[in-house]
């Protein structure tokens, strides 16, 4: 009832009426969304729009005031999800005074993942040449990759990545998106945040966020068609101007007030 069937069926993440306050600020104000399984969903918005707070809520490290969050059918932060959901924070959360391999070996033991996983994720993230170096001696981008490699340990079903491509050179950025695509092809669900609208075209679906509310929850083509634009940056501005979000209907009331989205959904354009 809280989500249209098409989305709820294959959804890895379902958020309903999420309210989060940090200090006196309302960061998220009644947010509802769904992330389908096996897809790359881009969470885009300017800094300060609540992306990180949403991600923290999804992995169960954020105190939330009200609302429900289901990840893989379980309440966010459930004990059994801690193995199945991986979270990469914006700043690389690794130990600077350990080598790359020591970092990964420790996180592997905490997860209880197979010992061969360390070599697998080192290869996957092309960290081989740096495996014996202290994480603190690496560049920002390399440290970020160590943080990502740690998240790949134990082959999680859902990956929540907070601005993983920030500050990377274009070549590395392309490589990283190729990695994300191959993970999704293997069945993982990825929620990737970014404040670079350019990266939207690499995602299967977009969540456009501003001031703690969603402007759009649609495919890239859907967003562009809805706004009649040909790039996401302009679409973002158009959505703000129009003051009318591009959201799928989440209940009967929404269906009445958002005819466009309802119709598109009925046609099965998604």
């Amino acid at each position: 009832m809280m989500n249209n069937a098409a989305v709820a069926d294959g959804a890895a993440i379902v958020v309903h009426e999420l309210h989060v306050r940090r200090g006196r600020t309302r960061v998220l104000d009644g947010l509802s969304l769904a992330v389908p399984r096996g897809r790359i969903v881009g969470l885009l918005g300017p800094s300060g729009s609540g992306k990180t707070t949403l991600m923290r809520s999804l992995v169960g490290v954020q105190v939330v005031q009200s609302g429900s969050i289901e990840v893989l059918g379980l309440p966010a932060g459930s004990r059994s999800l801690r193995r199945r959901v991986a979270y990469v924070t914006q700043q690389a959360s690794v130990y600077d005074d350990l080598t790359v391999r020591q970092n990964l070996a420790y996180f592997r033991r905490v997860l209880g993942a197979p010992a061969s996983d360390v070599d697998r994720v080192i290869e996957r993230t092309a960290l081989g040449p740096y495996a014996g170096r202290l994480a603190g001696s690496l560049s920002g981008g390399q440290r970020g990759r160590v943080s990502l490699a740690a998240a790949l340990l134990g082959t999680p079903e859902v990956l929540v990545l907070d601005e993983p491509t920030v500050g990377l050179d274009p070549v590395l950025r392309v490589e990283l998106w190729q990695l994300f695509r191959s993970l999704a092809d293997e069945g993982a669900t990825l929620l990737v945040s970014s404040h670079v609208m350019d990266e939207a075209k690499r995602c299967d679906r977009l969540l456009l966020m501003r001031d703690g509310a969603l402007l759009a929850d649609d495919t890239v083509d859907g967003v562009l068609a809805f706004t009649g634009t040909d790039d996401v940056e302009t679409a973002f501005l158009r959505l703000i101007e129009q003051g009318r979000p591009d959201l799928p209907p989440r209940d009967a009331a929404a269906r009445d007030t958002v005819p466009d989205a309802a119709m598109r959904d009925a046609e099965g354009s998604r």
Binding site: T89, S93, V94
Partner: protein, 244 residues
Amino acid sequence: MTVTRTLATSGRVLTQVRHDPRTVGLLLVVPSLLIGLIAWMFTDTEVFHDIGPAMIALFPFIVMFLVTSIATLRERRSGTLERLLSMPMGKGDFILGYALAFGLLAVFQTAIAVSFAVWVCGLEIEGSLWLLFAVAVADALLGTALGLLASAFARTEFQVVQFLPVLVFPQVLLGGIFVPRDQLPEVLEAISEWLPLSFAIDALQAVAGDTESTGWIVAKLLVIGAWIVGAIVVGSVTLRRRTP
């Protein structure tokens, strides 16, 4: 809580310390150097004989407090704690892992400090050296446990260091080093009866002078042990998976 995760955490903390020679130096050598300095200052007087045992309690306690609290705080600040708590890591695994790692360092530190005080500085111990060692280790562990607890209530390294004058210095002042505790004003004496460091200093002085029975010293050890367990339990309870 699992043994694997606790031991993995201890091993990881010890590897981190090994990569930082300065911290190793601070932990293992500095307390002995400070005890040596005191002994040297009071050459040809009876002062070192009187306060030497207390110094064995004091310096390891402060050093362990400082290193433990900052190490765990760095974990909060770097985001690694948040990462661990979003993984299947028990809060008890985390705190106990730290306690074990720094506990092991405390044993080495104390062995060096006691040996240095006795065989290099000539501190005379009338009672059992083993008992002296046991009390000194418990005292260093107490510093570790209180450091773990303090880091739960600090958000920055700056705030953690502020706990030194608030939590540690009063215990040093009232512990009987400057004025014997029974000569303190009544109210202060009553307070000092409850401070954990007082138990350690009392016990070390008793072993050094062989003035009390083994049972009396073991009783003091048990009180210190209770403080250690209490601080670790409260520390792991105050650790929150979800933060505002």
